[in-house]
């Protein structure tokens, strides 16, 4: 198993958000986590990345516990994240943001190669490389957040609501990019509000409610499920 979340309990300080969730992601897959606001989707991703307080259960990457590691060491093991709200470094230039994404990569030539690939994927970022990241448009900022997470050459990429607040055309472009990233060999765990698009892209999905997994299965089956349609696909 590539990523395994096992009976995970987590939250922030005294507030528990996840009440024992289990999920797994296989190598090469796109897996999506759906759910309403406050269900615990973001907390799940932050827990996996080492930024939430874990009170029970385990997270394993290729069989090794990572929930005991600090966030920076998890990145070094090939797991990166484009977090909710993008969290780009606004005052820093696009280039500086991207270079920070490659902070764990010591080989300069490898960084230069990845940079080229990332610019191929997002030509807009190349045009704006010396601009402060905070001056980019929302769509460009999202591209930067994803590009930055790719700079560490991850094997597993966590994406938290990449389509949030974007115009429909941009949403489509972002989903196509996620598909391309996956095709290039990166496993993806995707959290989305846009359930229909996410299920069309993903192979499998989990549905999270109040900090518990209430349903899981193949994306096609979830798309066809009347309960899921009612709750998440607008009937």
């Amino acid at each position: 198993m590539f990523l395994e979340v096992d009976e995970l309990r987590a939250g922030y300080g005294p507030v528990q958000v996840l009440h024992g969730i289990s999920l797994h992601v296989e190598k090469g897959e796109i897996v999506t986590i759906l759910g309403a606001n406050g269900a615990g989707k973001t907390t799940t991703l932050l827990s996996v990345s080492g930024l939430a307080d874990i009170t029970g259960g385990a997270v394993r990457l290729r069989g090794k516990d990572i929930h005991t590691l600090p966030a920076d060491e998890i990145v070094a093991r090939g797991l990166t994240q484009a977090p909710e709200g993008r969290r780009i470094f606004g005052p820093l230039s696009v280039m500086e943001n991207l270079r920070l994404g490659a902070f764990t990569v010591k080989d300069r030539k490898a960084v230069a190669r990845t940079l080229e690939q990332v610019f191929e994927l997002f030509p807009r970022l190349s045009e704006r490389r010396s601009q402060p990241a905070g001056t980019l448009s929302g769509g460009e900022q999202q591209m930067l957040a994803i590009a930055r997470a790719l700079m560490a050459r991850p094997r597993l990429l966590l994406l938290d609501e990449p389509s949030l607040g974007l115009a429909p055309l941009l949403v489509k472009a972002i989903f196509e990019t996620v598909h391309a990233i996956n095709e290039s060999g990166v496993t993806v765990l995707l959290v989305e509000q846009n359930a229909r698009a996410a299920l069309k892209l993903a192979r499998r999905g989990y549905i999270l409610e109040m900090g518990r997994i209430v349903m899981e299965g193949d994306a096609a089956a979830l798309l066809a499920d009347p309960g899921v349609q009612q709750a998440y696909l607008g009937g």
Binding site: G50, P70, A71, Q81, T104
Partner: protein
Amino acid sequence: MDQLFQQLVNGLAVGGIYALVALGYTMVYGVLKLINFAHGDLFTIGAYLGLTLFVAMGSAGTLPGFAAVLPVAVMVMGLTALLGGVLERVAYRPLRKAGRLSAVVSALGASIFFQNAVMLVWGANYEVYPEVMRPSAVIFLFDTGVPLIRLLIIGVSLLLMLTLYGFIHHTRTGTAVRAAAIDQGAAALMGINVNRIITLVFLIGAGLGGAAGIMVGMSYGQIDFSMGFSYGLKAFTAAVLGGIGNIPGAMLGGMLLGLIETLGSAYLTIAWKDAISFLVLILILIIRPTGILGERTAEKL
């Protein structure tokens, strides 16, 4: 005219010292949103260590030559940096997840601790830097006599500031420091060890503060255990003036405050020297609370 030029040089020398100390406040504030009230006392310790080490470098009761100031300054910067690192580990890191107020109380406690430690080790009376550390040479610039020591202080403080600026803006680790100051969580997601960055910031800030301590000894001759309080307050004012959390702001704020204070006390009245500084603080807090170079940022929740 002569007098104005001399006062400008004086102002820049004092300003350089303020700026170096202000950098310590502003860098720590940048990454931790904490005012390190013990920072002024690290500066005091730098001044005392400078004196003690310099005297110790002489043999059999004779003092070493002026050239010994350089290795002494390097050692002092190293030692105060180390002390800054220990301070963070002991007084602040255990409280990282506690409220901000707890850290402030801890900072005040650390300040009192350092002040009393200095008093116990070196005594409550003031100490005097030996003449050999304070060259009395005067250099003529534009037909005006300017003390060499002032120029030396301006030069060294500018050099230290430029080095720091280059490090922060043009190295990988420096960029990581800026990233951690913007968003610690996002920095950690880049694979940056944020704790290490915080330690580094304390090391650099305290090291610069230690250097400023020696400069005060060399320039005014007298040091005492409580000097960190007044200099700390001035440097804090300088940091706020430039925009707290902003590194070029601390440099600019320090230089400006030094100039305002020196010119104010020369042309108005010397008795109002401190009042002028704090009037600046009050005015900046009323007119532009974010400081000259500070950006208006929404408080993160």
